[in-house]
Symmetry: C2
Subunit: 344 residues, 2 copies
């Protein structure tokens, strides 16, 4: 067990050192588009169009905060069912300030895409030699890449130069479900060329168990470790992290969580003397990658690096402010969401 | 100029030597699904469903020629518009011989996907710093990856464990439009895990001009050089290569072309004494990657390696026989198509 972890650590170091990862300008933000926020959780393979559209628009506003131009020029020139054809005018592209955006990476979850296929076949448990698992692997990738394509398109319609980069195709693989290799170099190259890479939770090969599901949250932690963004935003379907399931009417929104060196966390705000500091979490039954539990522990590991993490409800004024970085130095009183940061 | 080519050569050697490319079993065939065969050339972003379905079915038959099972179990479990939902039965996957297929790689062209976006913006000419080119790059990738997804799905519906591997995401890039880097290791890993990688012509980064279009034909030549398939099949929309445009009523189908060491070709069959041996070719105006000219010269370079190339009309009995390898040792009289092989 330890030797495997050591091995993984070595591979990680290798992958980060052999390709010097130099970004032309610092990475401002990694954004997680939570599966629960951008898909309709209980309807198989249905995108929450309204949330996705607002989230894409907010991303554009956050990226171009310095730009004076309000003009939105779509980069999706493909046909869409039910929409008249997009034929861009060459004149629209005369204004070169359109490209003056800061560096972002988008990672999205699967929501109601992929989960049915993955859980029916047990892709996360491995066993690629079994026909059912092999078929489930193929079916899962079809489902999650079709979501990826739609998200890339939604971002491109907002004029964001989005580029789909599927983790399996990029050479991401795991060893006992931890990341064993990942072509960060290619992600960095895309960013340096001015693109916004769009990654996603994916079915990947696993050195030990054959295959598994690599969650978007684990991808974000790995990217954050190597590319050091200023901050990370998780867009989700609730206001933030609560002290108990948010469906409970007594649930209290945790405004600020501090993460210690050893990875343990404590609640800074709200200050409640006798409050049970252990955060209760709910894990949805269909969520093969761990749900809120994975999210918080991955967020804590990012915060330990000194990178602020904001967990906030998608398509709200709060998410726009988080994406713009307005929460960075002090948390405004009228801002609703959870900040997870290092206790140092 | 020479130094750049040397540099490229070095990079190629590096990429092929640093990751030892070992396939568990030999690669049987690389198949090109020609854009003209699987899309409706003159209708933007329209797939030729019938051809794609037949081509996928023929691929399954060719891959499983040793298998006794005729059962086709779909690996596409996603929703499709106009089709009732696919819900696989777990019992279907009890027969493990389903996976006993030989190694194939599929590469497809763009046809009526991507060309409009690429030519409108001039992606093939480079200049990623220009807003129009940047937008065209994003738009082109959206279009070609949406075609890739549909082809992966069509293959998966035939029970082929197809995996989309987009060249841009896989780290393929060019230098003066020649391949500068390519993650063949990842393709080999997918094959060794039992998958059929599905690559495609794509918009990629170019070290010198910023970006360009990497054609599926160039990808095939590169894969053939490094992975040494038994044979390569180009599925297209005409019977093969003609001595003049096939629309000309006097056009003669060339049955066999021999390629010399120096890359020049001569017509072996039909034996026509005074026939003009220079093959006339037509290049469609919208084809940013060179059409038949690129195809023949790439095919000639593959044949020079000692690998037979068959150019054949998709969705015919001739294509099925070519895919199965029946043309390999001698060309049957009733087989229509063009064989390009080394003169040695």
């Amino acid at each position: 067990m330890i030797s495997t972890m050591e091995q993984e650590k070595q591979m990680k170091q290798q992958s980060s050192s052999s390709n010097a990862i130099n970004l032309n300008k610092p990475l401002r933000c990694i954004v997680k588009l939570g599966g629960a926020a951008i898909t309709c959780k209980n309807v198989i393979e249905k995108i929450h169009d309204e949330n996705l559209e607002i989230a894409s628009s907010q991303l554009r506003q956050a990226m171009n905060s310095t730009s004076s131009s309000d003009k939105v020029i779509s980069m999706d020139w493909s046909k869409r069912s039910g929409v008249s054809e997009v034929s861009p005018s060459l004149d629209d592209f005369a204004d070169s300030s359109l490209l003056d955006s800061s560096n972002f990476i988008v990672v999205h979850g699967a929501g109601s895409f992929g989960h049915f296929q993955a859980s029916k076949s047990g892709v996360h448990k491995g066993g690629l030699h079994l026909p059912l698992v092999m078929a489930g692997f193929v079916a899962t990738r079809i489902s999650v890449t079709s979501l990826n394509l739609e998200i890339v398109r939604a971002l491109a319609r907002e004029g964001i130069p989005s580029i789909g980069m599927s983790p399996f195709a990029c050479g991401w693989s795991t060893c006992e479900r931890n990341i064993a290799s990942a072509d960060i170099f290619q992600v960095a190259k895309a960013i340096n060329s001015g693109f916004v890479p769009v990654l996603h939770g994916d079915a990947v090969l696993d050195n030990l168990q054959g295959c598994t599901i690599l969650s978007g949250d684990v991808i974000i932690r790995h990217l954050a470790e190597l590319l050091k963004p200023e901050y990370v935003v998780f867009l989700t379907d609730v206001l933030g992290v609560y002290d108990r399931p948010p469906t409970d009417s007594n649930a209290v929104l945790l405004r600020e969580i501090a993460v210690d060196e050893d990875g343990s966390w404590s609640i800074v705000k709200p200050e409640i003397g006798n409050m049970n500091k252990k955060v209760e979490i709910t894990v949805a039954a269909h969520d093969t990658t761990g749900g809120m539990l994975t999210k918080i522990s991955e967020a804590a590991m990012i915060a330990k690096l000194g990178i602020d993490v904001y967990i906030v409800k998608a398509a709200t004024d709060h998410s726009l402010r988080a994406l713009k970085g307005e929460v960075k130095d002090n948390i405004p009183d009228d801002w609703l969401g959870t900040v997870i940061r290092s206790a140092r």
